[in-house]
């Protein structure tokens, strides 16, 4: 806003306030009274939690007074209020430790996004057309409550479904308890880059059904199988902090990083040794390393304990994984495998990491179990410099541990493909009412699952999301949530620290628009349902959070003197510092959080299956989590659209990465448009020649290609998920998103541009070679 506009707006609001003020002056005045604690020009810092990925980094938000144009009771007014100005890491928080990643810095644009939904909407046109009309909150909540109530009347409670993004805090617990008391199935989540395979493997190997935490700061050797742990995978901020220390944190001692992946990721770029391994053979290499270590008597097979016995032939020294055989399967030279194995065994503490594409093969669980066994063999499980599991605090808001029950049922819950198929084949869909909370499965699922067609068959869909996306545009009713900065937020990080952490933060600013917090709307709906048995005990989400934090032990205070237990107000302290955290007492291991299941027989290597014949579809297709957009859920933020991807420097677009030699053979040049086709779909994208990709692999970042996702992302680029085959990891049923094969052909005359930052600053072509 410039000065002139500001004066105009203040004049208008001043006048309207005076005029309208004649009726109920007290109502009108209150709107224009500034928040008292704010001093103009002076910043205050308030804690919050980054909502963008499951890492759950703690934030500090810079809040300053500003003038916001808001609509209240149908009137536009200029109001002085505290506005979030910048996000930084919370130095006290065990995950982020005062730091933040590229995406977290941009999260603030969610709150101020011009295309945020500003009030409740009801569909007017045909489904998916995007025609909505504004309704009041009373109308919206009445409608939702009556629809849900009608299900209860018809004794059909099981036909209510709630799809949300995965989270581990009280927000999910509230939804779970609501559904449980209503008689509906637990909340459902589907993520393209879900981590079900790794969680299952860790449950089998170590009795911990969660993602691992790596003590990079104290390790001497890291071998990573496809995990982009410095870019997008697991808990990037805490892993970057650890990486800085492992390289230059200890004078004279610098840890080595070996990365195995067919396309050089941001993490691969930082490796001392980068090895393009054949896709789907990562576990073979891990066992090849173990074979060398066992046969060279550098460790005994017993050292791996349970994790070792899960692998076929482990106790016999893995006779199937001799070096020549490993070389044939993986494409990594035998001498190299042997050297790395020796380095790994001699450089204790060492740690092996697996994540990303290897787990998204049809034999993903095998790779994860192999890497787990390797970690156990070199003695790096729950030891300094190795792999740890974050203790999960018992922050259950009793009286009813629906969460535990839910987790048990969740393991038996159907996968998205089965769910969609069930809806499509049924005369009367098993889901009559679908509630959506920011989940976007229409964008994130392979087209062959026909998720969109399935949703079309559901009679009533309500969405709580902040934005219209491919899924929420199908909604009949939209009840937009506050942004994370405007609401109570909480989270229980799954990985990234060895401390038990439960984060919580109050709103840092007032709501800009006429939105309401989803948990409070749900509680409101619950109150209108006579048959909820027993009723939910909380009036507000804040009450629920308070109850859960007051149940936590009060020993988080660092100044505690031994023997004296001061009366610390856990709830106040947690709000003030952004959460509750407690060090695990030295020498104690957190107990397993799942009953160790017997996997039946030990796992052995079965070659990965790929969709598409090799002669017809000669390339592996590798979609990867983009540095800017992750799985595409951040494509609506303009800062991230204009962020030059660090490996390619591309902005605002999609691109396909091809090895220069391959491109030469196909007579394709940088910037040429190609058609990439699988058995299930095709797309067009400009080619980017990348020296760091195997000749038989085509890679594309996930994130662009949205049909509906605000003015910044809609109709931009292509969605690589649209090529994916409906092929799953065989043991877990998780989508094997790296198991599709494609063919490539040049398209002449297509108008798609590669937008690069490198070389664009000044036209000096002779200097651009190699950049």
């Amino acid at each position: 806003m410039d000065r002139r506009e500001f004066l105009k707006a203040s004049a208008i609001t001043g006048a309207s306030a005076t005029l309208a003020g004649c009726g109920h002056p007290e109502h009108q005045l209150i709107r224009f009274i500034p928040e008292e604690e704010l001093v103009p020009g002076v910043a205050t810092w308030k804690p919050s939690i980054c909502p963008l990925c499951p890492a759950g980094c703690g934030l500090l938000v810079r809040v300053m007074e500003g003038d916001a144009e808001v609509v209240r009771n149908g009137q536009i007014g200029l109001i002085k209020m505290g506005l979030a100005k910048k996000l930084e890491g919370n130095p006290a928080h065990p995950i982020s430790q005062g730091k933040l990643c590229v995406r977290g810095q941009a999260a603030i644009q969610i709150t101020y996004h011009p295309d945020r939904l500003r009030h409740p909407l009801k569909r007017t046109g045909p489904r998916g057309a995007g025609a909505f009309q504004e309704v009041t909150w009373d109308q919206a909540i009445d409608e939702l409550a009556s629809k849900v109530g009608a299900l209860a009347e018809a004794n059909n409670q099981g036909a209510l479904a709630f799809w949300m993004r995965p989270s581990r805090g009280q927000r999910r617990e509230l939804v779970a308890q609501f559904l449980h008391r209503f008689g509906a199935p637990p909340p459902f989540s589907f993520e393209l880059f879900g981590e079900d395979v790794l969680r299952r493997a860790n449950a089998l190997s170590f009795g911990r059904e969660q993602l691992p935490t790596f003590d990079l700061a104290r390790t001497r050797y890291v071998i990573s199988f496809g995990a982009d742990f410095l870019g997008t995978w697991n808990s990037p901020v805490s892993q970057n902090i650890g990486y800085g220390l492992m390289r230059q944190g200890r004078p004279g001692q610098r840890a080595k990083l070996v990365q195995l992946e067919p396309r050089m990721s941001q993490t691969g770029a930082n490796a001392d040794e980068w090895l393009p391994i054949r896709p789907g053979t990562e576990g073979v290499l891990a066992l090849g390393l173990a074979h060398v270590i066992l046969n060279g008597r550098m460790r005994s097979a017993d050292a791996a304990g349970r994790a070792g016995t899960l692998v076929d032939g482990w106790m016999n020294g893995l006779p199937d994984f001799t070096l020549p055989h490993v070389e044939t399967l993986t494409g990594i030279a035998a001498a190299r495998v042997e050297r790395i194995a020796r380095e790994l065994a001699e450089s204790a503490p060492a740690v092996a990491i697996i994540g990303g594409a290897p787990l998204a093969q049809t034999n993903g669980l095998f790779h994860a179990l192999a890497v787990n066994a390797l970690n156990a063999l070199v003695g790096s499980v729950e030891t300094p410099g190795g792999v740890f599991f974050t203790p999960i605090p018992n922050a259950s808001s009793k009286p009813d541990a629906a969460g535990e029950r839910e987790r048990r049922r969740q393991s038996a819950a159907p996968t998205l493909d089965k769910l969609a198929a069930g809806i499509l084949s049924a005369e009367r869909p098993p889901i009559q009412i679908l509630l959506l909370d920011e989940a976007n499965p229409v964008f994130a699922a392979p087209p062959a699952w026909r998720v969109k067609d399935a949703l079309q068959k559901i009679p009533f869909i309500a969405s709580f999301g902040n934005f219209l996306d491919e899924t929420s545009i199908l909604a009949d009713l939209i009840l937009p949530d506050h942004s994370f900065l405007e609401s109570w937020v909480d989270d229980v990080p799954e990985a990234g620290t060895t401390m038990a952490v439960a984060s919580v933060a109050p709103p840092v600013m007032k709501a800009l628009h006429q939105t309401r917090a989803m948990p409070d709307v749900l509680l409101d709906v619950a109150r209108r349902l006579p048959r909820l048995n027993p009723p939910l005990p909380w009036q507000t989400f804040e009450q629920m959070l308070r109850a859960s934090f007051e149940a936590l032990p009060a020993r988080a205070a660092p100044q505690t003197t031994p023997g004296v237990q001061p009366a610390v107000d856990v709830w106040s302290k947690a709000q003030e510092q952004g959460g509750w955290w407690a060090e695990t007492p030295a020498g104690t291991r957190p107990p397993p959080n799942v009953a160790t299941r017997d996997p039946g027989r030990p796992v052995s290597f079965v070659a990965a299956r790929f969709d598409g014949e090799t002669n017809e579809y000669p390339f592996h297709f590798l979609p990867y989590a983009s540095q800017a957009f992750l799985d595409g859920s951040l494509a609506h933020l303009p800062w991230l659209q204009e962020l030059p991807d660090v490996v390619t420097t591309a902005m605002w677009s999609s691109w396909a990465e091809i090895n220069p030699k391959t491109a030469e053979r196909l007579q394709i040049a940088q910037g040429n448009v190609v058609e990439i086709a699988s058995r299930h779909g095709s797309l067009r994208a400009p080619v980017l020649l990348s020296p760091g990709i195997a000749p038989d692999v085509i890679a594309m970042p996930v994130g662009q290609g949205h049909e509906h996702y605000t003015r910044y992302a809609t109709g931009r680029g292509a969605n690589p998920i649209s090529l994916l085959a409906p092929i799953v990891e065989e043991e877990t049923g998780a989508l094997a998103w790296a198991a599709t094969r494609v063919r490539v052909s040049r398209v002449v005359g297509a108008d798609l541009q590669l937008i690069l930052f490198a070389g664009a600053l000044r036209e000096r072509p002779h200097e651009h070679e190699g950049r």
Partner: protein
Amino acid sequence: MAVDLDRCTGCEACVTACHAENNIPTVGDTQAARGRALHWMRVERYWEGEFPDVRLKFRPVMCQQCDAAPCEPVCPTYAAHHTDEGLNAQVYNRCIGTRYCANACPYNVRFFNFFNPSWDKPLHLQLNPDVSVREVGVMEKCTFCVQRIKAAEVQAKAEDRSLKDGELKPACAQACPATALVFGDLNDPESEVSRLSRSPRGTKLLDDQGTQPKVTYLQRQSSE
């Protein structure tokens, strides 16, 4: 400032942090394709070798705050000038947009506003009130977050003490998870940044240009 390339992972947290702190506008796809995107802080990347023996190296580049800055003598209006503290300052109100400074700068860290910046409402509410928004025809560049430096100096003066090492950080260094970016007072030989600048791994970017840059790059090491 010192940049430890052995710690830098190319995560680009510094890039968005800089946008957020300094009210840098986005220009959109068409203008970005013409090379008009504004990134005071960027992470350059260099490919070496051929598949499979290929290396990729990152280098964060911002204004090097040269002691013999080529941008300064060419400015006809003294918009680009040297402050007492040794910063290359840009006075936006003096700038008439000749772009001589951008031509003279060997680091390509000066950016020209081809348009008046705009923010789709209400994105403008996020703007940092401590930093002025630059208009069309004006050159802009990294300031080492001079507003943060000034604020910390004022605070220290009010408390009648001198600045402590590490007390203030530009937005990029504040965000950097791997602590690759270290900011401080080069005149204080005891400061962390002085210690790092004396490292045997230390180099200056395009040192042979005679610009005397104040940013030291500590070379990446190898464990092979």
